[in-house]
């Protein structure tokens, strides 16, 4: 590592830190893009098998080159801008959708040291950046100058703002018990506890004492990424394809990248905050980044499973779930955790 640093310093001189940071960004974004591509493949395969089909199987062995072929096809297609559209915003909207999905990765830790920016308030940063993802959707709907797209955008705005509240409350409980806003510290706070000392550390991760919050966060995460069964803003049986109905070619693909990137982000955050991140579930196995990947993959599988099994929520039922079920549950559990921490039964010290 030191040799690499000296080598870089020798070639680039003073601007080496900037070059090194750019390199690290590439090292995060390139595998992320590849994961997104193969997540679409996995989705089609998993849902295919759940519906007793075989899914993509023509391009490459087991259809493994299918996502590349899809990407190439979308890249070649023309981007059609509707004549009544607000052209500048129509073009900017997909960028606004994907930028927060990528920017949030700046503070996501993959293990103790493998993090681009280990800042103090990384949890707050993630909440702030992910809350901006809704603009891409609203603006694409408005700029398309189409009724279906606009309806989709309105639904998305209301839905994402509502579920952000319960998501925020769930995170507040996590930061209360870990006494930190730093994601690395949040993972380390899950390392200690009675169960961890007995060697069954997966029982001292946050998911067990904060079980209601874990479920609220997971379900809000599905709603926040506009995935089935909460995909009312796309709702192809009601509003064609919702906010991206007028998009074609790469502009459409960028919305897709943003959606799947957000899925991976939410899964990673759930693993870090509730499932102990890179910590090993049992005492006799070493911690490592592979545990994090395994947990993320398991949660992503849940996302696909949801999509294959649940029918879409109706719009009013979705709003009821967000405001009348999740927000009260969160408020109550917030008080429960507060009292628990002040009582002699406190397990987080």
């Amino acid at each position: 590592m030191d040799a690499l640093m000296n080598f870089g310093q020798g070639i680039f001189g003073g601007i080496w830190p900037a070059v090194w940071t750019l390199l690290k960004i590439v090292l995060i974004v390139a595998p992320l893009m590849l994961s997104i591509a193969y997540l679409t493949w996995a989705e089609r395969k998993v849902i295919g098998y759940m519906q007793v089909r075989i899914g993509p199987n023509r391009v490459g062995p087991w259809g493994l080159i299918q996502p590349i072929a899809d990407g190439l096809k979308l890249l070649m297609k023309e981007i059609v801008v509707p004549s009544g559209a607000n052209k500048a915003i129509f073009i900017i909207a997909p960028m606004l959708a994907i930028a927060p999905a990528l920017a949030a990765w700046a503070v996501v830790p993959f293990n103790d040291t493998l993090v681009l920016a280990n800042i103090d308030a990384s949890l707050l940063y993630i909440m702030a950046i992910t809350s901006m993802g809704v603009y891409g959707i609203i603006l694409s709907g408005w700029a398309s100058n189409s009724k279906y797209a606009f309806l989709g955008a309105m639904r998305a705005a209301a839905q994402m703002v509502s579920y952000e509240i319960s998501m925020g409350f769930a995170l507040i409980c996590v930061l209360m018990v870990s006494n930190s806003l730093n994601l690395v510290d949040i993972v380390h706070a899950q390392e200690q506890g009675r169960f961890a000392s007995w060697g069954v550390s997966f029982l001292s991760w946050n998911w067990l004492p904060l079980l209601p919050m874990f479920l609220v966060y997971l379900i809000s995460g599905v709603a926040e990424t506009n995935r089935a069964p909460f995909d009312v803003c796309e709702g192809e049986s009601e509003i064609v394809a919702g906010f991206h109905v007028e998009y074609s070619g790469m502009a459409f693909a960028v919305f897709f990248l943003a959606e799947y990137g957000n899925m991976i982000l939410v899964s990673t955050l759930t693993s870090i905050m509730f499932l102990g991140g890179w910590l090993s579930p049992v005492g006799f196995l070493p911690d490592g980044i592979l545990w994090l990947f395994a947990k993320v993959a398991a949660i992503l599988f849940l996302f696909l499973w949801f999509r294959a099994t649940f029918p879409r929520y109706r719009y009013d039922q979705l709003m009821r779930l967000g405001w009348k079920v999740f927000v009260p549950v969160c408020l109550i559990w917030l008080v429960v955790v507060g009292v628990w921490m002040m009582s002699p039964l406190n397990i987080w010290n």
Partner: protein
Amino acid sequence: MDFQTLVFFFLSAILIVASLRVITARNPVHAALHLILAFFTCGGIWALLQAEFLAIAIILVYVGAVMVLFLFVVMMLDINMDRIRQGFWNYLPLGAILGLLMVLEMGLVLGSKYFQVPAADAIVPAGISNTKSIGALMFSEYVYPFELASIVLLVGMIAAIVLTYRGPKKTKYTNPNQQVFVKAKDRVRVLQMPVEKD
């Protein structure tokens, strides 16, 4: 000029252009978008001043929540620009006086050193979390003002609901509460019937 100054001027330039476009843009949605850009850049400048909690809070609250709802409303409005521009010259004197007052106030605050008002020197010691210190102060020294502000906000929220409440609904509507608790046996009855032979 060091790197920080460069970033400051870069952000300030964006902030000034964005703020100007808020009041000059003809399309209200464009104006709202420039306001969002202004808030975001403002967050950047605060982060530069090492006030990371405020920087993230303005993005979380204003960009992430308030402006989404604001944009929501602006998109729904059917704004006729000609009618809005009609009274421009009538309102200009009043607007100019208000603008001058604001400039005067800002000048007094920013130039307080010149007017011999002692300004607080903020020096952040290393290793102290901005967020933690704000939280500790808010819930110890400033707990009553904080609670008071919360109550004012709560009253504002209830007032908004009361002002827009139009009485009980006269139309027929479905109650999702009852719907989600429905069981299959409430709706469908499976009967055992002997096979009919003729």
